[in-house]
């Protein structure tokens, strides 16, 4: 039997699914047609909530026609911990540890984004000391490298490249070392405070950081050698999970997922906070919007982050990291024990928290996963009346039910890996 090459040619997934849907076998011929089972019978496949490719506890209910997905229903909430409700029940400062656990791949960036939101509410965001601003930028970018490294490693591991995971984790351990000497914890950092930082950079930290930056660039090269022109990697990511520009905007994607689709939008450039307007860096933008583009964007973002940190370390100013306001920042411990005024400030700050004015603000920061926003509705006093966390992973995942249909089952793994979400942040 001869096989014509047209018969076995591979078609675009979307074309495949359209054909299946549009031309069902005619009803009359069904009984006689032996091949009727080949198309038509739908199978429901449950992916998650405990599945290695779902990076946590995402659950997707897939309706399959053979290997092709016809319908995808994401089910989230398996890590819903009630962060927003908890925020209403505690002071602004007490909530900082909870922000660590939103996007637990880059907690330093969450800390910074949250306190910037509170500072915006209090109107002290312009008063921050220069050193504090630079250190916060360094924190954000370290978090970005750390998060992208893990995202990349996990993505590669899901697609079958285990080595990359071990490579990237080697560098992440160095970032953990930096975090540990900076904050005392490996990744639940709780480093920032309203109006400043919990502590200044420790001795020798800058040199340690510079050493890390020199090493991590080599690691980027190695990872890229392993992936960028790897035939298997390219086959499994290129042309898979294409998000057109208009769709990305309609679903309000943010971060590398938005930029991978060719939208040049980065909050660090569009609405510079901290000292991002004084730093030189480029925003990588994809052209097609497939998994491969998103991978390339992340890869380049890490290199740009290295560039940013190097500039910050060069320009790092001296001075205090806290604003000199006893009503916002905790006084030094020594003074609390010896001076009446500091004692009172300390007592009020610890028991009642900072005194925020009534009003409402929204602040969004460019986090590793995208735009992490905080909407704070305050009625005055030390606790928010309502705090809504605009989680980038939540928004990014909402595209799944439209993105997955038409793809093969195995593409799901690539797509989930390339969207690079964290369930802690998605479910809050």
């Amino acid at each position: 039997m001869s096989v014509h090459i047209q018969d076995i040619q591979f078609k675009e997934p979307s074309a495949r699914i359209k054909e299946t849907l549009q031309s069902p076998p005619p009803a009359a011929s069904r009984a006689s047609d032996d091949l009727v089972d080949v198309q038509g019978e739908k199978m429901v496949l449950n992916l998650g909530p405990s599945h290695p490719a779902t990076h946590g506890v995402l659950r997707v209910i897939l309706e399959m026609d053979g290997e092709i997905i016809t319908k995808a229903t994401p089910d989230i909430g398996y890590l819903h911990r009630g962060d927003e409700k908890i925020a209403e029940n505690m002071t602004y400062t007490q909530f900082i540890p909870y922000t660590d656990r939103l996007d637990y791949l880059g907690p330093l960036a969450n800390n910074v984004a949250y306190v910037l939101a509170v500072e915006k509410l209090m109107g002290i965001d312009k008063l921050l000391t220069p050193r504090c601003q630079y250190v916060r930028v360094i924190c954000c970018e370290l978090a970005r490298i750390s998060a992208h490294l893990l995202g990349l490693g996990a993505f590669a591991m899901d697609v079958g490249a285990m080595t990359v995971f071990l490579h990237t984790f080697q560098e992440r351990e160095k970032i953990y070392d930096l975090c540990e000497s900076l904050t005392g914890a490996r990744f639940t950092t709780t480093y920032t405070r309203i109006g400043g930082l919990s502590r200044d950079l420790p001795d020798g930290w800058v040199a340690q950081c510079r050493k890390f930056l020199d090493e991590v660039v080599i690691n980027f090269d190695e990872s890229e050698t392993l992936l960028t022109r790897n035939r298997i990697w390219v086959d499994r990511t290129k042309g898979v999970g294409i998000i057109p520009k208009a769709m990305a905007i309609d679903y309000a994607l943010s971060g590398p997922n938005l930029r991978g689709s060719g939208v040049n939008f980065d909050l660090r450039k569009a609405h510079p906070y901290l000292v991002y307007d004084q730093l030189e860096f480029d925003i990588p933008v994809g052209s097609v919007g497939d998994c491969y583009d998103r991978y390339l964007v992340r890869m380049e973002e890490m290199r740009q982050s290295v560039r940013i940190i190097q500039q910050c370390l060069d320009a790092l100013p001296g001075g205090s990291v806290n604003i000199p306001d006893g009503k916002v920042v905790l006084p030094e411990k020594g003074k609390v024990l010896s001076s009446m005024e500091e004692l009172i400030h300390q007592f009020i700050l610890v028991t009642q928290g900072v005194n925020a004015p009534a009003g409402e603000i929204y602040f969004g920061a460019e986090n590793p996963k995208g735009e992490l926003g905080f909407y704070i509705n305050s009625r005055g006093g030390g606790t928010p009346h309502r705090m809504k966390i605009r989680a980038p992973s939540f928004v990014n995942l909402s595209i799944l039910s439209e993105l997955l249909p038409g793809h093969l089952m195995s593409d799901t793994v690539s797509i989930l890996g390339s969207l690079d979400f964290v369930m802690g942040e998605c479910d809050r």
């Binding site: 909530p49 405990s50 599945h51 290695p52 946590g56 506890v57 909430g77 398996y78 890590l79 819903h80 911990r81 009630g82 409700k85 908890i86 540890p97 909870y98 660590d100 656990r101 637990y104 791949l105 893990l150 995971f165 071990l166 490579h167 984790f169 080697q170 992440r172 351990e173 953990y176 490996r186 990744f187 639940t188 369930m423 802690g424």
Partner: protein, 169 residues
């Protein structure tokens, strides 16, 4: 006077013969090849990954074979916050693991609910499944997890196997 002692077992000493209890031999095999079921739920899962990755390397203790299928696992590591929505799924996965099985509750959330005292969080995974070792920390360092693993191994080593019935249903 210098003394030297051999590390490990020298098969020549007793002429290629070793005498031990069957329990001890079986448990020795068993404890050094615990296959974990990584129930990665939240932040702790990242430290669990770190424990499996380059620096800490859980394979030194024979547990690098992370199986995402409960049917192939002996040791469930509950890493992260167990929410009520997830709770019965965790229990179901535990039920699917073949006997004998052990559980490590990794981190404050899995042990007691931790800092998440809220309407959505199960206050400790021991409400639904039996836990052998609790690990403190939010999240625990990988060393702490490895320590917990060694504690489980010690427990496995002392488990009566043939001498008494393993478990009465």
């Amino acid at each position: 006077m210098q003394q030297t002692a051999e590390i490990g077992y020298n098969s020549k000493v007793e002429g290629e013969v070793i005498v031990t209890r069957a329990d001890a031999a079986l448990n020795w095999c068993r404890k050094n090849s615990l296959w974990p079921m990584p129930m990665g739920l939240a932040c702790c899962a990242i430290e669990l990954m770190a424990a499996g990755a380059s620096r800490f390397d859980i394979s030194r203790f024979g547990s690098e074979v992370m199986r995402f299928s409960p049917r192939q696992s002996d040791l469930m590591i509950v890493a992260g916050t167990v929410t009520y929505k997830m709770a019965l799924a965790v229990k179901r996965i535990y039920d699917q693991m073949p006997e004998p099985k052990w559980v490590i509750a990794m981190g404050a959330c899995a042990s007691t609910g931790g800092m998440y005292r809220s309407y959505a969080v199960l206050q400790g995974v021991d409400n639904i499944i039996p836990v052998d070792v609790y690990v403190a920390g939010c999240p625990p360092r990988p060393e702490a997890l490895l320590d917990a693993l060694i504690k489980v191994q010690n427990k496995v080593a002392k488990e009566p196997l043939l001498s008494t019935q393993w478990k009465t249903p």
